[in-house]
Every structure is written in C-alpha cells, then in structure tokens.
C-alpha cells in the first residue's frame, strides 16, 4: 500500500504521462528521462544482485568454481568494441549469443510446430451437422491461409488464385477478430489507472 506522499507523487506522475495525449510537453519529457535513468539503473541493480553477485562472490570467490571465469571473461570481451583496433573481438560473445538462440530454436521449436500440424488432421464428422460444417470450414480456411503465403506459386493459376483470395479474407477476418477481441484488455489497463486516480488516491490521501 502506498503512503499518502507516495500516492501524491504517483498521481502527479500519472497525470504527467497522460498530458502527452494533449501534446508532447516538458513534463512528459522530464518523466521520460527520469524513467530512462531509473529503468537502466534498475537493470544494473537486478543484474548485479540477482546473478552477478552470486556468480562472482559465491561461485568464483567462495566455492572456487573457476570455470565460471570463462563466461565472465567471454561477456567482458564485448567491451572491446569501444577500442577500434581490437573491436572484432566483440564478435566472439555476439556469435555465442546468436548461436545459443539458434540452438534453442532448433531444439525446442520443432515439437510445438508438429503439434500444430498433427492437430490440423481433423475428422470432419462431428456430433452435430453444425460441428461437421465448422470442421470442414476450418480445414478450408487453414489450407487457403497457408496457400496465401506461397511465394513461388504464381497467382495466375486459377486454383491458387481462389485459394489465396479465401486465405486473404480469412486472415483479414482473423485480424479484425483479433482487434475486436483485444480492445477489452487495452481498456482494462486504463481502467486500472482510472481506478487509482478516482478511488485509490482519494481513499489514501483524504482518509
């Protein structure tokens, strides 16, 4: 729970950010820069207290697990980019990071993808005629949407043209539905702020 002074500060900064909706102004600019400083600092603090301190103080200095020096030094190599002559060395940690990402993508992504493919094998016959129709429609929309993404098959092919058109409409319907279905959560975030301004703030300050 916020103290009254905190509530005052929080209210002022909330209004300050909302003022951007009118136009860009010095108050917003100030808050923007305050946030830049605080957030960058917060990353540094969390990195140090969350992981850095444990690795340096406990693993390396206390437990003498000296192998941990390798990734520490490896990470530090990134700073060579500030010295033009040896800047190429910075590519070593970069290539390690990228390799790690590729490895994870290769190791973890094929299975969920196969899961999606297997699930697309649909038995059309449903419990009711309505379900059957929906199953068939799902199949048509799915295959046509995939066809929409074919980059090499020419659209002049009439079958391809029909499929890609249906696919394009299905994608548009999906994006429309995506828009309509998500307004609610956008509104919910502001609902949270309005709740703070109109209820939490007066209850905290004018108790």
């Amino acid at each position: 729970m916020l103290t009254p002074i905190q509530a005052w500060v929080a209210t002022l900064v909330t209004l300050g950010v909302l003022s951007y909706l009118y136009k860009e102004n010095p108050v917003f600019r100030l808050l923007e820069h305050v946030m830049l400083g605080l957030s960058t600092a917060h990353i540094l603090v969390m990195s140090w207290h969350g992981t850095g301190k444990m690795i340096l103080m406990k693993y390396i200095l206390e437990d003498q697990k000296l192998l941990y020096i390798i990734p520490v030094v490896g990470g530090l190599l990134i700073y060579t980019r500030f010295f033009p002559k040896i800047a190429w060395i910075a590519r070593i940690p970069m290539s390690y990071w990228v390799g790690y990402g590729i490895g994870y993508s290769f190791a973890y992504d094929p299975r969920p993808m196969l899961g999606q493919i297997i699930d697309s094998f649909i038995k059309f016959q449903g419990k009711t005629p309505g379900v059957t129709v929906n199953n068939i429609l799902f199949f048509i929309f799915l295959t046509c949407s995939i066809a929409y993404f074919f980059f090499t098959i020419k659209r002049e092919n009439p079958l391809m043209n029909v499929a890609a058109t249906i696919g394009r409409y299905a994608i548009m319907a999906a994006l429309g539905a995506g828009f309509g279905g998500t307004v609610i959560s956008r509104a919910a975030t502001f609902y949270g702020r309005a709740f703070f301004l109109l209820k939490t703030f007066p209850n905290t300050v004018f108790r």
Binding site: V17, Y20, E24, F28, R29, L31, E32, M35, L36, L38, S39, T40, H42, I43, I78, R81, A90, R91, M94, W97, V98, Y100, G101, I102, Y104, S105, F106, P110, R111, M113, L114, I117, I118, S120, F121, I122, K123, F124, Q125, F139, L142, T143, I146, A147, F149, F150, F151, T152, I153, K154, R155, I171, A174, L175, G176, G178, F179, T182, R186
Partner: protein, 270 residues
C-alpha cells in the same frame, strides 16, 4: 567418465522421448532450405518470388524522408539477440541503412536490448561502409533506451515528436508497445511499414500502419529487397517446406477421415 555415462544410458533410447521425429523433421526442413540456397548461389534456375506488398514502400518511405529532410526510424522491438524475428530485422536493417547512407538521410535506430544494440550498430556501420559513406555514420543515432518495455516506449514517443521522423520501419518481435509506437509515429507524421510474427500485434499494425508484413513475410522481406541469391534461395526453400506442410496436413486429414487410427499422426507424435 563420459563413456560410463553413455554406457549407462545405452539401454534407454538414444533420443529424449518424443524428440526423434522433431529432429528428423528439423533436418528435412533444413535440407530443403540448404538445397535451394546452394542452387541459387550457384546461379542455377530457381522459381521467381511473388511480389510482397509493402516492400517497395520501404524504398519509397526512405525517399520521402530524404525529400522532407527528416529522419528514418527503425526498430526490432523487444526481441533479444537470440530471437529469430530479430534475425529477420537485421536483413532489412542492412538494406535500409544502405539506402539512408546513399541518400544521406539520417537513420535513427532505437533498442530495448543492449545485446541487440551491439549487433545493430555493427550492421549499420558496415552498411555505411559498403555504401562508401563511413563518415556519415553517427553512433549517437543508435540508441539504447533501457531494457523496460514502457520506458522504451515513452522514450520512443518523445523521440518521434522531437526528431519529427518521416518514416518508421518496425520489423521484429513486438508486444503491447506495438500500437503505442505505431500511433505515436503516425501522430508525428511518419509513413509506416511494420511486420511481426506475433498474431496478437498484427491487428494493431494493420490498423495503424500504412503497410504491414504478415507473419513469415518478414523473413522473405530481406530476400525481396536485397535480391541476394542466398536469401532468395532460402525463401524458395521455405516455400518448399510450406508445400510439404500443406501436403502433410492434406494427407493427414484424409487419413483421419478414412482410418480408425491415423498412422501419420501416430508417427509424427513419436
């Protein structure tokens, strides 16, 4: 020691359960892509790629910014250095940076991740070098704006208005900030080209941006703009995989409807 471990594990399967078929599948995908990359590189005939809406718009947008004498902004959003959609951004960034170098247009790149920042700076620097304008590269325009989503967004909104950007190119991994950036840049008067894999954010991009690359188009974009054989070959390889997936779904669905037990599904599940 290692041998002992291996021996102990021998009676079990070689693959972690349920990983064999995914591995085979991955290998097939990679083989297709590799095959067509090699073909394209060797200059052998490959099928042409269809036009992707929105990509010529990148050149137009940079051209417009040049005429107006205002900067171009690019970002890969919240992706990490290990996120594949960030890889897609890099191919496009190289192209945009070269265009900007050629036309002498200011390029602003903002970042939410310091690891991505290092790579982006490298790419932009290299592109300016290749365009013969290493002097025009300004390191101050490759900016880190904290690793927090909405701090990053606020800083971007401020930069859009103050620097009066004329073009905004957003390709990569985006989350809630997608709409804030898109509408913010629109209010600053920018032409926008956006693309992402995220099906949550595509609706907002479609609404607020002038051109939107949907899903995998971001991976084809690099190939389309650069026309480099490797990328073109890769896109064709991807398309062959897509045809494979299409066929798999077709065959699987037929089997599902005529067989009591779907052998294909059972195999893929292994």
């Amino acid at each position: 020691m290692l041998f002992q471990l291996a021996a102990a594990a021998a009676p079990k399967t070689f693959w972690v359960k349920g990983q064999m078929v995914p591995f085979i599948f991955l290998m097939v995908v990679l083989a297709f892509v590799y095959f067509f990359i090699s073909r394209a590189k060797a200059g052998m005939p490959v099928p042409p790629i269809r036009k992707i809406n929105g990509l010529e718009a990148i050149d137009e947008a940079v051209g417009r910014a040049t005429e107006m004498g205002r900067p171009v902004h690019t970002t890969s959003g919240l992706g990490y250095v290990s996120t594949p959609s960030t890889f897609a951004f890099w191919a496009i960034l190289a192209h945009v940076a070269k265009l900007c170098a050629k036309y002498d247009t200011r390029l602003i790149n903002t970042n939410n991740d310091y690891q991505v920042l290092t790579v982006n700076e490298e790419i932009i620097k290299q592109s300016y070098l290749e365009a013969g304008r290493p002097d025009a590269f300004n390191a101050d325009d490759v900016r880190y704006l904290s690793g927090w989503q909405f701090t990053y967004t606020a800083a971007c909104l401020g930069i859009f208005q103050r620097e009066k950007i004329a073009a905004n190119i957003m390709i990569g991994h985006f989350m809630a900030e997608a709409m804030l950036l898109a509408e913010g840049a629109h209010n600053a008067g920018a032409v926008q080209i956006a693309g992402t894999l995220s099906t949550f954010q595509l609706p907002w991009f479609i609404t607020a941006c002038d051109y939107t690359l949907i899903g995998e188009e971001i991976f084809a974009a690099g190939a389309y703009v650069s026309r480099e054989p490797v990328l073109v070959g890769s896109v064709i390889g991807q398309d062959m995989v897509r045809i494979l997936v299409f066929v798999l779904i077709f065959v699987g669905t037929i089997l599902q409807n005529v067989q009591a037990k779907n052998v294909l599904a059972d195999f893929l599940r292994r």
